[in-house]
Every structure is written in C-alpha cells, then in structure tokens.
C-alpha cells in the first residue's frame, strides 16, 4: 500500500487521518524531530518502530530493530546523551530487560529528549503476564504520561520530548493494547526536521554527568534526581490533557487515566449520569497531580478510581486523601469495585460506576439464558501453527525422537515465539491437576501438547541447565527457541552451558524472521529495519565459536532426517545444538520464495485407514470426517509442503500434478 509512509511523513498540519495508537506515537516522535529510534519487536508495541522505520530514510533519521530491548534502550539513551532526541519502544516484558540501565540512567538523566514508550497488555492478549509498567516510572522517579486515545498518543509523545528536555530526564509514555492496537481520528501537527548536531560535554551542568561513579558519585546523583521531583509535580498539574469537572452536589467523583478514562466516559453516558458525577482525568498517572486531585477529593463524599492495570493511581490517591480529605471514601480495586485482573472495557466500567453509585443494573434473565444456549453453538477456533509451518516438522521429529530415545519422562522446555503454541493445548482440552510423587509421562497427541515448561524469552535453555544440575535422570532434557529469541536472550545461557558443563539438547527453530510479532527481521535475516541489506549472522557458527561440541543443521521439511539429528543429539550425551532451519512459510509465500501451487496434495481414500496420525501432525489444512473416518486436505489452506505425506504410514497422501 505504501500509503502510511506517505502520510506519516507528510508535513500537513491540520490534516485529519485515521491512525493506530502505535502509529500515532510514531508520528508524535516524528513531529518532535526524533533522530534515533531503537526497539525490539513485541506485541502490542511493534508498530511504533515499524512506522518509524518506514519514515526513517525519507526523513533522514536512524531507526533500528536492536537485538533486544536492553540494547535498544542503550542505543536510544546513548543518542540522547549527545543532545539529540531519541525514543525506545517495547512491550511490557521488554521493560524487565532494561531495568538495570533504566534505574541508573535517571541519576544523570539526558540532554536530548528521551522517551521510553511501553505498551502494556492487560488481559495478556499477547503476553506471558499482565504487569503494569507504570510502577517502573515510580521506581525510577520519572514522570509517566498515559494517553486515552490516538490523538493524545501522538500529542503526548511529542510533548514528552519537550518535557524530557525541560527536566533533563527520560519521560515514560505508557500505552496499553486498547490504545496501541486501536485506531482513531488524529489531527496532524507540523513536522520538525531531525537536524540537531550531536555534541558531547562530559561535565554538562553536573560534574561527571554521564558517569554515575564520577564524583560526587551515585548518592549525590540520587539527591539530584530527588531535587527534580518538585519540578515534575508542577509539570503534571499543567498537562493540557488533564480534565477536571466538578459537579455541584455530586456525591461521587471519578478519577481515571488513559484508556480507562475513555471507558469511564462511555460508561457514564451509558448510565445517563454524566451530569451527576464529578470527573477527573489525569494525563499523568505518575506522579498524580496533587492539587487537581485534592480539588476533586474535597468536593465529593466518595471517589472511584478507574485505571487500567494495578492500583497505581489509587495508592497515590489513598496517601493524598489521608492528608487533604480524610473523610472521603475511596473505591476501586482494593474495595472490589474494579476487578483485580484482566482488562477493563465499557461494560466493566459501567458496572463499577453503577456499584459506586448504588445503582441497580437491570438484568434481562431471559436474554442471558438464550445467550447461554447459543454459546453452545459457537465452536472454538483454536490457535494453530500455519499450514506448512516448519515448526510443525520440528515438533513432529522431536516427538518421534523422544519416543525412541527420550527415556520415560523427557522434559521439553519451551520459549516464546510462534512455536510457543507447542504448549497451548488442543481444542480447549483441560487437564485435572495432578500430584504425583514420581516423574509422570503424559502423551503428546498433537504438537500443541509438546512444551512442558514455558515462561519468557530465553527462559527455556536456562531451565534445562538447572534440571541437569539437579540430577534429573528420568528422561532427556530438551529446550527449544526461535532464531530471534536465540539472539535476544540465549547467548549468555549457551556460554553458561559450555562453561558450567550442562548437558541437554537445544533445538533452534530457525525460520529466519521474528515471525510471531509480525515478521520483523533479526540478525540472521539479512536485512535491517529500514530494508537495507545486512550481515546474516550464523547461528551454528556462533555456537561453534562458543565451544559447543555438537552442532548440526537440519531441514524440518525432512522429517526423518530431523528426527535422526535430534536422536543423535540426545544420544551424544553432550550439550548439543540442533538448528532446524527453514524460512517461515507465510513469509516465504509473501516474498515469493516459495511457490506452492505446482501440485495438489490429496488423500487417497482407498488407502486411508482413518488412523488419524496425519491429524496428530497438527497442520490446520488437515481435515477429518468423523462419520466416514477419512482424512482430507483443505485445498485452499494446503501449501503442498509434503510433510503430511511423510507422516502417513499407508501412503494415502499423494501429490498430484494440477
């Protein structure tokens, strides 16, 4: 389409366009004249850098996919130290990787505006947890801005650069899925050219500004950070997106921020009580604007805090109320008016506000019953790997290898990527909790039941080493990870395995792309974020250089060879790395590196015995007629990869020329 690049770089102040929250954040950075943007992909934040990367060459600034969030943060921080404007963006989990630098950079701050844009994911749509990263702003003692729609996402991002320069500190911009992945009308502002010249002054306005150990040292620099707090408190009182509406005679006041403020406004209207409730929208959840909040607290009897995530504002309001309005009743997450987990929406906001008002919501029992009945008709649509996905081949080969040489109870440590679906279970099947005192084997019926452990990026290979050093003997130890994850988080763990003599098999499921988050390039892809040709780092070469003794490469489309490679790796008794390599099918199709329509894969029903082995391979193109007990192949989904043909022991899957 290319349209986005056109208008995202267009200097057309006043023009109204539809922007996704993440695009709006990117546009805000462009309007601020950003010069360095660095990120690592992660849903729901990826489109911030994708948009910036699209614009970078045209406008003349640097944008990169870094190896991981920590590196991205440092790249952007390094630029800001030289006085240019820089942004780093990441998903919630990414921030955990940067905390060391984050907590220390704030002791000296920055010279050029530095924005840390983080997209949280309440409801864990795309994440391993629901963490609320606004606590990090609290922890690091820097202000956090939180937009409530796409327009604010753009405007606040732009302003965050100015505020950052005014304070000489990084500014935190917190988004959530329903901002980042929602779209709205945005009026564009003028673009500022990225033309500041970077400069370096070692003792800029503070001795040893950029060296935390330089005298007077960390404690004095911490004191400096504290001296900034009054200025921050003043700044948040004056943010143009704050809204205070006092209502005479109102007993209830609402304090809301970010997307929760939008949901609360929708809910007030649904309830028809807009004019009966006082309302305060805080543009900055950290720190809470004390004067504005006091005004609201003093005007009502009860206050309901509606915010997305943990009670970050609520805790601050509690502390403030103790001093300024001790009689006010505070409602929110601590009182059960707002749920403790999951994300908000207009219906939850409506229920919370109704409860705070003591309003009884009408319930249509009959309709609820009808809905329950209809719900039974709604078949699930389980998430699966794509038809022809190379990970399907790797998982099949791994399953066969473990059956033959994996011992009684092998442990497969998972990781994060498309292949994490190897632990999603199948068709909503639920297991009863077990409490076995011995290692217990569970059958793997589909690739979706392969992964025994899974937490975070790079976690699996470390867990495997612990299992080895604990002396686990009941089965083979395996870890898997994708290529992007390999570079992001696995290298120190590989060094550790070699150095500390761990044993186990590490399978790198290399599809050349960061597929799960939308196919961003990584260090083995051969291109950069802006589409320039780049070095292709060798996964096996790095492993060999570190000193891994068993390193083999295999093609997952060749099921037998891949199985045998994994078997050899297990039987080697060493720390072994198997690189299972084939380009992501979806991406190969898009880039026309793979042409699937030369032949047709079909089931010969005469030979099909109905054994369902092909079904257990887990490809979404495989179908099964339960009445006739015959397998089939969906011709629209099938990409003729030939893997299921290798799975069928009866030769019932055939390839025919079109």
């Amino acid at each position: 389409m290319g349209k986005l690049t056109d208008f995202i770089t267009q200097d057309a102040p006043g023009k109204r366009v539809l922007l996704m929250g993440n695009q709006a954040i990117a546009r805000g950075a462009i309007e601020a004249g950003v010069q360095v943007a660095a990120s690592y992909p992660g849903t729901p934040a990826s489109e911030i850098l994708e948009t910036l990367a699209d614009a970078a060459q045209k406008l003349g600034f640097h944008a990169e996919w870094s190896t991981n969030e920590k590196v991205a943060f440092e790249v952007a921080a390094g630029a800001a130290i030289t006085g240019v404007r820089a942004i780093t963006s990441m998903k919630n989990a990414g921030l955990n990787w940067v905390m060391d630098m984050f907590m220390t950079l704030v002791y000296g701050g920055v010279r050029g505006g530095f924005v840390i844009a983080v997209a949280d994911d309440p409801d864990a749509h795309y994440s391993s947890n629901e963490q609320d990263t606004r606590f990090a702003a609290f922890y690091g003692e820097i202000p956090c801005l939180e937009p409530s729609n796409a327009q604010e996402a753009k405007d606040m991002c732009k302003y965050a650069f100015e505020l950052s320069e005014q304070l000489e500190l990084p500014v935190f911009l917190r988004s959530v899925t329903r901002i980042s992945h929602a779209s709205g009308d945005v009026e564009l502002g003028p673009i500022k050219a990225p033309e500041r010249r970077p400069v370096f002054d070692k003792h800029w306005r503070m001795a040893w500004r950029w060296n935390v150990y330089g005298p007077p040292g960390p404690v004095e620099k911490h004191r400096w950070l504290h001296s900034k707090q009054a200025e921050i408190e003043q700044a948040v009182e004056k943010l143009p997106w704050n809204e205070l509406k006092l209502v005479e005679g109102a007993e209830l006041g609402i304090i809301a921020s970010g997307i929760a403020a939008s949901f609360a406004k929708d809910a007030l209207r649904l309830l028809g009580v807009e004019d009966k409730v006082a309302f305060l929208k805080l543009a900055a959840p950290v720190p809470v604007a004390k004067q504005l909040t006091s005004k609201l607290l003093k005007s009502v009897k009860r206050v309901l805090v509606v915010e997305e995530g943990e009670p970050v504002i609520e805790l601050q309001v509690k502390a403030l109320a103790k001093d300024v309005a001790p009689g006010v009743e505070l409602l929110g997450r601590f009182t059960g008016h707002v749920p403790r987990v999951g994300e908000l929406n207009p219906d939850i906001a409506k229920q919370s506000i109704a409860k705070a008002l003591g309003m009884e919501l009408e319930k249509d029992e009959e309709r609820e019953k009808i809905k329950e009945e209809i719900q039974k008709l709604v078949a699930p649509r389980s998430s699966t790997l794509c038809a022809g996905c190379p990970h399907l081949g790797t998982y099949w080969a791994l399953k066969q290898a473990l059956k033959r040489v994996g011992g009684k109870v092998p442990i497969v440590n998972g990781d994060i990527g498309c292949y994490e679906q190897g632990g999603y279970g199948i068709a909503g099947k639920r297991y009863e909790p077990s409490d076995s005192s011995e290692s217990k084997a569970y059958p793997i019926q589909a690739p979706y039941e392969t992964l025994d452990t899974n937490y975070i990026m790079g976690g699996g290979i470390g867990l495997m080493q612990g299992q080895h050093h604990a002396g686990y003997k009941d089965g083979a130890l395996v870890a898997v990870a994708g290529d992007s994850t390999y570079f992001h988080a696995c290298l120190p763990a590989i060094v550790n395995a070699v150095y500390n003599k761990a044993k186990g098999v590490f399978v790198v499921m290399d599809n050349h792309w960061t597929a799960m988050t939308g196919h961003q390039p990584d260090p083995c892809t051969g291109v950069t974020a802006t589409g320039e040709e780049a070095a292709k780092l060798s996964i096996e070469g790095i492993a060999q250089a570190i000193g891994v003794e068993f390193v083999e490469v295999t093609d997952p489309y060749d099921l037998k060879a891949t199985q045998q490679t994994i078997e050899r790796a297990i039987q080697s008794g060493k720390f072994a790395i198997v690189v299972s390599r084939r380009v992501c099918t979806l991406q190969a199709l898009r880039l026309k590196q793979y042409k699937p329509r030369a032949k047709q894969t079909r089931v010969n029903e005469e030979k099909c015995t109905g054994c369902m082995l092909c079904v257990s391979f887990g490809c979404p193109a495989t179908t099964f007629d339960t009445e006739r007990k015959k397998a089939g192949i969906d011709p629209i989904l099938c990409v003729n990869c030939g893997m299921c043909k290798q799975v069928c022991p009866f030769g019932a899957i055939e390839e025919v020329k079109e």
Binding site: M1, K3, R16, V17, L18, T43, H125, Y126, S148, N149, R178, H181, A182, S183, G184, D185, I259, S262, F263, D266, R269, L270, N345, P346, D347, K350, R367, I370, K371, E373, I374, L377, V378, A379, P380, R381, S382, S383, T384, L385, C386, A387, C418, I426, A427, G428, A515, M516, G518, H519, L586, M612, V615, P620, T622, T623, F624, T626, D634, L637
Partner: protein
Amino acid sequence: MSELNLIIAGVGGQGSILASHIVAIAAIKAGLRARVGETFGAAMRGGAVASHVRIGKTVEGPLVPCDGADVIVAVEPLEGLRNAVKFLKPGGLVITNIHPWYPMDVNIGRARYPSMEEIEQAISKLKGKLIKLDATKLAQEAGNVRTANTVMLGALAATGKLPFPAEVLKEAIKENVPPKTIDANARAFELGMKALSK
C-alpha cells in the same frame, strides 16, 4: 442516529481489519469522529478476528459495549455468531457471508460447526435481523477471492446504516486497497451492493 456501533468479524487473512479501517477512514473523510478497536491473535492465519468500529460525536473508547452493536458484518459465519451472542443490540442487524472457514477444532472432529439454519434461529432469538449473501462467490466473480471483505462492505453500504454516502466509502476503498486490486475491489463493492438491493 448520533452514534453507530459496528463490528466486522472474520478469520485472520480475510481482511476484516482492513475493512474496518476503511469504514473509519470514510467516516473521517465525512467529517465524523471514529474509533476502531481490534482483537486479533499473532501474525498467523486462521485465528478469530473482530474489529469494533464506533462512529459519532460522542464515542470515546474503541470498544462496543455488550448488546451494543447496531450492525455486525461477518466475513465468516461462525465469527458473526461468536460476536452476535455477546454484542448484538436487540433489533440490530447481522450481515453474513454464508461461506464457512472451518476451525481446526471442527476439521479434526473435536467440535461441530453450526448449520446456517441454527445461525439464523440464533440471530432471531437474539432479536436481531439477518441478511445472508455468498460473498466468497461474489468475490470470485469480481475476479479476486480475497475481496470478500469488500463485497461485505458493499452490502453494508446498501443497508443505509452508514452515516455517510456510499460514494465516500468507495473512495476510501480505492485509496486503501493494494493498487493492483483496485478494479477487483470496485467490482466486489458493486456486487455486494447489488446483492442486497435484489
């Protein structure tokens, strides 16, 4: 109507998110306020996708409340039903493609796909109106199977529920689909409109 709440539902790869963005872009062209909230899985194909579109002066958040959708456009029938149960406003309208995309759960016999009659009955029990069309077939007629989403937009325009003229939507389609598919999409839109006026 001061506010239109619309949901476009389908399966990843059918273009329902693009369709929802096109409706919102048209609304903005017409000088209205628009919000789109989307739910989708990872970059994979075949997952359930639903996009909420809210148009009007008073809309704030990007999500349609329960029982609040004036119109549900289903590029895939099961996904239409999935969203109707939760979001269809009593008296609201469901426009559905009749061509199913079976989930793996159904393909391997672990779940059952509801029949069109069952879907019809369900919508009527929810006090909704249902309009059916074979958008997949019409998209093929238009010269590109992947324009089923645009066929559905044509049908949507023909219902008269949109608070702006069909011409604006047509223009938004032209400006936002891949250039090579502009003609097929234009034909798809017309076929969708015609299917409804019959």
